[in-house]
Amino acid sequence: MTTTQRKKIIGLTVNEETYELAVECQETLLDVLRNNLGLTGTKEGCGTGECGSCTVLLEGEPILACLMLAVECENKKIETIEGQSINGDLTPVQEAFLEKGAVQCGFCTPGMVLASTDLLKRNPDPSKEDIMESLGGHLCRCTGYNKIMEFVHHAAKLNRDNT
């Protein structure tokens, strides 16, 4: 395998910085973010698209980075958890996450933060069912989801108060 690897140069904009990267054709976006760019905030819980931990925003849409080949993302815009808080200021979603005690081990947190950010952008006042639909693919073993549900409602309120 090592002798036949073929690399491709791709352009990738991650958290508003543009990179030129040599990637192997079979490498996932997740591998490239974590291994090439050192953006380890995006987590791999299963590698097969079942847990949601690797969620990032591709052109503003949540996707599973473990199921996306890096070469498919050529010249596209990616947002990861590292791009959420600017100069250390937490976003309302991140603040709500902390305040409601929705963090325990934190491994699912980055994916949850990004998926909820996307949800609230589309829907500033989501119902319980809306939240279930948006976060249904994100496994969390620690919280039982009660405080996850609370935090999304609270983040929606913080967002509304801010505008």
């Binding site: 395998m1 090592t2 002798t3 690897q5 974590r34 291994n35 050192g38 953006l39 380890t40 905030g41 995006t42 987590k43 791999e44 819980g45 299963c46 590698g47 097969t48 079942e50 847990c51 931990s53 990861t80 958890i81 590292e82 959420q84 808080s85 937490l90 991140q94 996450f97 902390l98 305040e99 005690g101 963090v103 325990q104 081990c105 934190g106 491994f107 699912c108 947190t109 980055p110 933060v113 939240i131 279930m132 976060l135 249904g136 693919g137 994100h138 496994l139 969390c140 073993r141 620690c142 919280t143 039982g144 989801y145 009660n146 405080k147 996850i148 549900m149």
Partner: protein, 775 residues
């Protein structure tokens, strides 16, 4: 004394900002220079002799730096338990035999995963297949394939017995004679996985000076250091296990795992860092899950519901090695005897080797299995006697100050209050009393209750915790603890305790945790001991600092120690707020006038401080802990009589955890456990056929998602107080609430539709079959 500022408050997590910004570094995130990838070759056989392993072709793969097999190890066995009765029984890499599908036979380190996987495919192992056995009851019968010789002290004509616990008191036969009603039932619990999101992972780096640095996703670094040092033949001083964030554990990351050993040995062979991350499929198929168990309960009661005798037999399926099998058959005895008074009891538990993967602790470690059995049966007895489920529990519940058969005192016991409060809160009696003839139509509702008791901080290696608290020049504080935060929030509560004792803003307490070299030894985050054992050690360490500050302040202010008050990083004289010194000034004065003493406090704590040893796993003799938590839980369910599907409408937990040091975290623990129990009851099952896992992914193993969220309510039954400067006996919250709720769900299903379930999970098939029978 002043009011509490930090303890008992909903303090936000110390590590929260790191976690919501993606900055928290977990073991899987560690990337060292020159780091190699390690992969493991596993046995495809459930039981086989290894005749030969040929690694020559694997070594030729470009990028491969090392290949190891059992021959490269020292052949030193290890085990979850290592006692004279239960010596270690597992090689870190298989030597002569493999005993389950997935057992580790070789490992490779390479520059990338492709080379490593290619090398694995070229290792040629010649096996001689042996007959295998998977069912523990079949494995016990003479004539079954022998996996390990039966334990020499088990004087019975049974095979494959890894361990046995036998205990009892009173005269159980006389008790049954005396009883007005006796019944015997058999309950079975199934196999579930822990479901932590961060996979098993280890990075090991063997340095030129002979030091092995290890980061590993675990539940405490000290046990890892001890077992790595032993199996690698290194002095403990050469092994340093360091902190990384842990993405969940739930009992599944305590013991030494082969990938940890292999990463270390591969790093020693290559002098390069080696990372091994288990794939989710490996975790499902080859790693340790919880403990499926068969529980037989025979109970005798008087007409009024008073228990007079109980006899238990448990059989645990420990897999190819002992794992925690001999611990769980000991613990379930405790889960049986703690909540209710049982005047006469007999207990026998067997841990049986089978050709399944090894089993490990899993949140509750036997409690869900035992409480499901006892609480289900108690409801059947109550119904038979015409007593309400509430009354039969109140009749038998232990009360404050009661002595347990092992000599432990339950101290403050809020069990009756839990039962009473939850009954009132849920309007239990009215809901329970709706007769089944009134419940018509497709969807039928029911309510059920269960109770449980859980103990914290018992004596299992390393038995105790020490904590160091040191003042910094500016009057802020550094807290050094060996405790590892696995998501439960241990670092935050330790900071709360130190902030409270020293009256210092919690932001000014910095934690340095879980490094075997620089932090003191810690009991580890299992056996539910952190808040009590490490928490009291932190309180003592802070108290040591407080005494030193007080002595200096008394000297400088020319005041009596009794008149000094601590507030906002200053020490005042009571009634004279103008006469005070800041902590910063006190530290400077201490250095100046006390021969350079920079004010460092030590604290340590151990459960059962007068008991030299842990209790006997064989006989249960010996005291255990002074820390028993109690709870009652109710479940309200709706059964779809057409499909057999059950929905958990509401779960209520009334809990006596002493007092909640951080109510926000307590709620998080309870909700998480209710969700895990919901998975246990309805969704999750590792399906195995002849030792092979049939559903090794989260698509096929269904863990609750937010779409399965349970309406979870909490009732605090506070039985302890926290006072600055005094030891406290707050109890556990991390494991107890995964148990009673399971029984409550089973009892609620019966209340709804009259179907009694004797095995988990509560599948639609079982419910429909039950409905068919009572038609």
């Amino acid at each position: 004394m002043s009011e509490l500022d930090y303890v008992g408050k909903r303090i936000l997590r110390k590590d929260g900002p790191d976690k919501v910004t993606g900055k928290a570094i977990y073991t899987v995130d560690i990337q060292l220079k020159g780091q190699l990838v390690g992969r493991i070759l596993r046995s495809p056989h459930a039981h086989a002799r290894i005749l030969d392993i040929d690694i020559s072709l694997a070594l030729e793969v470009p990028g491969v730096k090392a290949v190891i097999t059992g021959k490269d190890t020292l052949g030193i066995k290890h085990g979850f338990v290592e006692t004279p009765r239960y010596p270690a029984d597992q090689y870190p890499l298989a030597m002569d035999k493999v005993r389950f599908i997935g057992e580790e036979v070789a490992a490779v380190a390479a520059t990338d995963v492709y080379a490593a996987d290619k090398a694995l495919s070229l290792i040629k192992v010649t096996y001689e297949s042996l007959p295998a056995v998977f069912d523990p009851e079949e494995a016990m019968i003479p004539g079954a394939p022998e996996i390990h010789p039966s334990h020499p002290k088990v004087k019975e004509d049974l095979v494959n017995i890894g361990g046995k616990t036998a205990s009892g008191w009173g005269d159980v036969e006389a008790g049954f004679q005396e009883a007005d009603y006796v019944r015997e039932d058999r309950f079975e619990s199934h196999l579930r996985t822990h479901g932590f999101l961060e996979p098993h992972a280890t990075v090991a780096s063997f340095e030129a000076d002979g030091k092995l640095n290890v980061w590993t996703s675990s539940q405490g670094p000290f046990i890892k250091r001890a077992k790595l040092a032993k199996t690698l033949g290194l002095p403990q001083s050469s092994v340093r296990v360091k902190k990384a964030y842990v993405g969940g554990a739930f009992g599944g990351k305590i013991d030494l795992y082969t990938h940890e050993f292999c990463a270390a040995l591969l790093s020693m062979k290559t002098s390069r860092p080696v990372e091994i991350i288990a794939t989710r499929e490996e975790i499902f198929t080859a790693y340790r899950h919880g403990q499926p168990m068969i529980v037989t309960v025979k109970t005798g009661v008087k007409k009024d519901g008073t228990i007079v005798a109980q006899e238990f037999k448990t059989i645990n399926n420990s897999g190819g090695y002992r794992g925690s099998g001999v611990v769980v058959i000991f613990l379930v005895w405790g889960f049986a005897m703690a909540p209710y008074r049982i005047p006469n009891m007999k207990y026998k538990g067997y841990s049986v080797y089978t050709n399944n993967p090894i089993r490990s602790p899993q949140r509750g470690h036997g409690a869900p299995q035992m409480r499901f059995a006892v609480e289900s049966q108690l409801d059947m007895i109550a119904a038979e006697l015409g007593i309400s489920p509430i009354d039969i529990r109140l009749k038998n519940a232990r009360v404050s100050g009661e002595m347990l058969p092992n000599g432990d005192n339950v101290h403050n016991c809020g069990l009756k209050d839990c039962v009473l409060d939850i009954a009132k809160h849920t309007d239990f009696t009215a809901k329970f009393g709706i007769s089944r003839t009134e419940k018509q139509g497709r969807y039928r509702k029911g309510i059920g209750i269960g109770v449980s008791a859980y103990f914290g901080g018992s004596l299992i290696y390393p038995n105790s915790s020490s904590v160091i608290v040191k003042m910094n020049d500016d009057g802020s504080v550094s807290l050094l603890t060996g405790s590892l935060d696995i998501g439960q929030g241990s670092e935050t509560i330790l900071c709360q305790i130190v902030a409270e004792e020293l009256k210092i803003p919690i932001e000014e307490v910095q934690v340095f945790a879980a490094d075997t070299e620089t932090t003191p030894v810690d009991i580890g985050v299992w056996i539910s001991g952190n808040a009590y054992v490490t928490g009291n050690a932190a309180r003592e360490a802070a108290g040591d600092v407080r005494r030193k500050l007080m002595t200096i302040a008394a000297e400088e202010l020319n005041a009596d120690i009794e008149n000094l008050i601590f507030q906002n990083k200053r020490v005042y004289i009571s009634g004279q707020p103008e006469r005070s010194l800041s902590y910063e000034e006190l530290v400077a004065l201490s250095i100046q006038k006390h021969r350079g003493d920079s004010v460092i406090g030590n604290g340590h704590w151990r459960t059962m401080r007068d008991e030299p040893f842990h209790p006997s796993l064989a006989t249960t003799k010996g005291r255990w802990t002074e820390n028993y938590a109690f709870d009652a839980q109710t479940a309200e369910v709706e059964v779809d009589t057409e499909t057999g599907n059950v929905r958990l409408l509401k779960a209520v937990t009334a809990h006596d955890c002493g007092f909640p040091i951080n109510p926000l975290q307590v709620e998080g623990q309870i909700d998480g456990q209710v969700s895990m129990a919901l998975g246990h009851a309805f969704m999750e099952e590792i399906m195995m056929e002849k030792g092979r896992t049939l559903n090794p992914s989260w698509l096929d193993y269904r863990m609750p998602s937010i779409c399965n969220i349970a309406d979870s309510e909490h009732i605090d039954v506070i039985t302890e107080r926290y006072q600055v400067g005094k030891p406290y006996r707050t109890k556990e919250v991390g494991e107890g609430y995964v148990s009673a709720i399971l029984a409550a769900i089973a009892n609620a299903i019966y209340n709804a539709v009259g179907v009694r379930l004797f095995s988990t999970p509560f599948t639609p098939e079982k419910i429909l079959k039950g409905l068919e029978k009572i038609k």
